[in-house]
């Protein structure tokens, strides 16, 4: 497709990436979770691809989209130059391909028929569409996805080889099918999008750019001082309670009291295990989480911690948080925050390979001693 500009020898090579999916909504949801800055770095590997977005040298959003999100996913390493062995290049050499792409454009293209999820794809919506996150229905959009996915699975049987007509042929449900290919460095990312076999087809060629080095925020587990795993709804409800005009958000964690007896020892006004504190011009809010296994599934805290973050940065995570099921919150001894959101897949897959979105955020300096 896009190879005609290349030299003839390269034109014989299979594209670096070929992927297709019969319903783009899950893929689009994952991308939307990190859609707070338009320019994203995409790294393609054999196991899937990683989308990285950074803001203000402080916040790093990463979406891990594994190969099984797609119905078909083929990665051919670009460095395997000889055409004869390119079909099965050496699996030991895991060399990735990276490029930058206007993320919002990609999402808009996926949603060209308006059928790739109804969450408005608006960039920089942290405060503008704040109320949307406070829906009573627990991420109704996502539930719709679930139902659809199961229905189709049962009707069409599991797996098997299905032609493109099958991806595009489901006229009953309004999913958008997609084929994506990337021919290699300097080539555009090509998308072929269709709603059903009878309807129109859209071809998008999105320009890719040379990747720029982006912020690296390694999180070392030895330096971790706080680790919490909780249901996303518990965190989402807390964060959506906060006034959007808040400018600072503090996570305060204290080691749990000695493990004798569950709740009695600490109810009497003791130090909270987990407190979220928000300060803004209009006042401040404090929220404490109870020491209850139903709420905090995992709670590890080695010493009392208190780190503050810019609320504007934390609110960037809300879109991903909203469509996730579980959250892991970790903080290291310098205040580096790592938030991981497990994104529920419309299909049943092994729990350890579920797609997730991770945010890493540096603490505000004034909290460091």
């Amino acid at each position: 497709m896009a190879q005609n500009e290349d030299e003839s020898e390269e034109a014989n090579l299979p594209p670096v990436l070929k992927a297709s999916v019969h319903d783009v909504r899950y893929f689009a949801t994952l991308l939307r979770g990190v859609n707070f800055v338009n320019r994203a770095t995409v790294t393609i590997a054999r196991s899937g691809f990683i989308v990285v977005v950074e803001e203000a040298r402080t916040l790093l959003g990463t979406a891990y989209i594994f190969a099984h999100v797609f119905d078909e996913y083929t990665y051919n390493s670009e460095t395997a130059t000889a055409p004869q062995d390119s079909q099965n290049s050496d699996p030991d050499e895991e060399d990735n391909v990276a490029f930058e792409i206007p993320l919002n454009t990609l999402i808009e293209c996926l949603n060209i028929f308006g059928t790739a999820g109804s969450i408005g794809a608006v960039t920089g919506s942290s405060t503008g569409t704040y109320k949307k996150w406070k829906r009573s229905g627990d991420g109704s959009d996502q539930e719709g996805d679930d139902d659809d996915g199961h229905g189709r699975r049962t009707s069409s049987g599991t797996g098997g080889t299905r032609g493109i007509e099958n991806y595009f042929g489901n006229a009953s449900d309004k999913g958008t099918g997609m084929r994506m290919s990337y021919a290699g460095s300097g080539c555009p990312l090509t998308l072929l999008i269709a709603e059903d076999a009878a309807g129109p087809t859209t071809t998008c060629e999105i320009t890719t750019y040379e990747p720029e080095p982006h912020l690296q925020l390694p999180f070392e587990s030895e330096r971790m001082v706080l680790k919490i795993i909780l249901k996303s709804s518990w965190l989402r409800d807390a964060l959506s309670e906060l006034d959007p005009s808040c400018d600072k958000l503090t996570f305060i964690g204290n080691p749990p009291p000695a493990a004798n007896g569950r709740q009695q020892p600490r109810t009497a006004g003791g130090t909270p295990m987990l407190r979220i504190q928000a300060v803004g011009t209009l006042g401040s809010t404090e929220m404490d989480y109870p020491n209850d296994r139903d709420v905090l599934e995992t709670f590890e805290c080695t010493r009392p911690v208190s780190f503050s973050y810019r609320f504007g940065h934390i609110s960037r995570t809300l879109r991903a948080l909203q469509s996730s099921t579980k959250t892991s919150l970790r903080i290291d001894d310098e205040g580096l925050l790592s938030l991981q959101f497990l994104m529920p897949s419309p299909t049943k897959i092994a729990a350890d390979s579920q797609a997730f979105i991770e945010f890493r955020c540096l603490a505000l300096d004034d909290e460091l001693e």
Partner: protein, 295 residues
């Protein structure tokens, strides 16, 4: 000058004005004995989109009476917003406090100001009779001014094609609008239609393959140029302002069938039929001028 009519089909009238109002805040309406013409031809209109519509009087009005010195034609300029507000209040919707029984539209003069007066009589939910009157200020145009109104001249179109439902086109163009100011519309005489944008960051082409070409077009072109047989697969392209095209798509509220005509690199003409194609109560004709952009 006398003019009086009962509006029979207020919902259709309302939808037509709704499509017009999105385009231009002021419009010209020319009432004659047989047809009502709604004209939007303002130069101020960005992208230069124009509308020349003809609606059969019978499809909207009953007891229609018109008299004027200019061979029974009355032409007026008025605010499409005000007209829409009036029609909305008269149209039957679940929200309205009363049910409309009769709407009479007439030309009147109040305090030296020419108005189009709408008298709505209805019944409230409690069964009481109500009368609501709206006066829309108008400016009656002189015959000399009317003579200056000229429909745009276009060459014989290269291709006529029936567009997919406008409700389907609208979301697509809505996505494309923020990406590019210009939209290329291409069609051939073999049922193919393409909408595409080209920018530095993205190229997007959307293609329909099974549209219908109207037979009228092919016969007309064959008669005129019999010795130049055309390749039915040849695509004819025109570049239009994305905003203008999106404004035209606002007529989805009224459309049943829309025929698009492309005069290559010159303009695009869109016929939006009100009601069935066979028994159309009228047609809104949109002219979208082609844009010349150095590539």
């Amino acid at each position: 000058m006398r003019f009086r009519a009962a509006i029979e089909n207020v919902n259709t009238f309302c939808r037509i004005i709704q499509a017009i109002e999105k385009l231009q805040k002021k419009c010209i309406i020319k009432f004659s004995e047989e047809v009502m013409c709604i004209i939007c031809n303002s130069e101020a209109n960005e992208g230069g989109i124009q509308v020349w519509s003809q609606i059969k009087v019978d499809s909207l009005f009953t007891s229609y009476r018109i008299q004027s010195n200019a061979s029974n034609v009355i032409t007026m300029a008025l605010s499409s917003e005000a007209l829409l507000a009036t029609l909305k209040s008269a149209s039957t919707s679940s929200k309205s406090a009363y049910e409309t029984e009769e709407i009479v539209m007439k030309l009147a003069k109040k305090n030296d100001q020419a108005v189009l007066s709408f008298e709505i009589s209805g019944v409230t939910r409690q069964g009481r009779k109500v009368r609501v009157a709206h006066d829309v200020k108008i400016e009656v145009m002189k015959p000399t001014q009317v003579a200056e109104l000229k429909e745009p001249m276009c060459p014989e179109p290269d291709v006529h094609i029936i567009l997919p439902p406008l409700q389907k086109l609208r979301p697509i163009v809505e996505r494309l609008r923020p990406m590019s100011d210009f939209l290329a519309v291409r069609a051939n005489n073999n049922g193919r239609l393409q909408l595409s944008i080209r920018t530095d960051t993205v190229n997007v082409d959307t293609e329909w393959k099974n549209c219908k070409n109207t037979s009228k077009a092919s016969t007309a072109s064959q008669e005129q140029e019999p010795d130049e047989p055309r390749d039915p697969d040849e695509l004819f392209s025109v570049l239009v302002s994305t905003k203008s095209f999106f404004k035209f798509l606002n007529s989805h509220v009224v459309s049943t069938t829309t025929i698009a005509c492309i005069c290559r690199n010159h303009c695009m003409i869109l016929y939006v039929y009100v009601g069935d194609l066979a028994d159309a109560g009228g047609v809104l004709t949109f002219y979208i001028p082609g844009q010349l952009v150095d590539e």
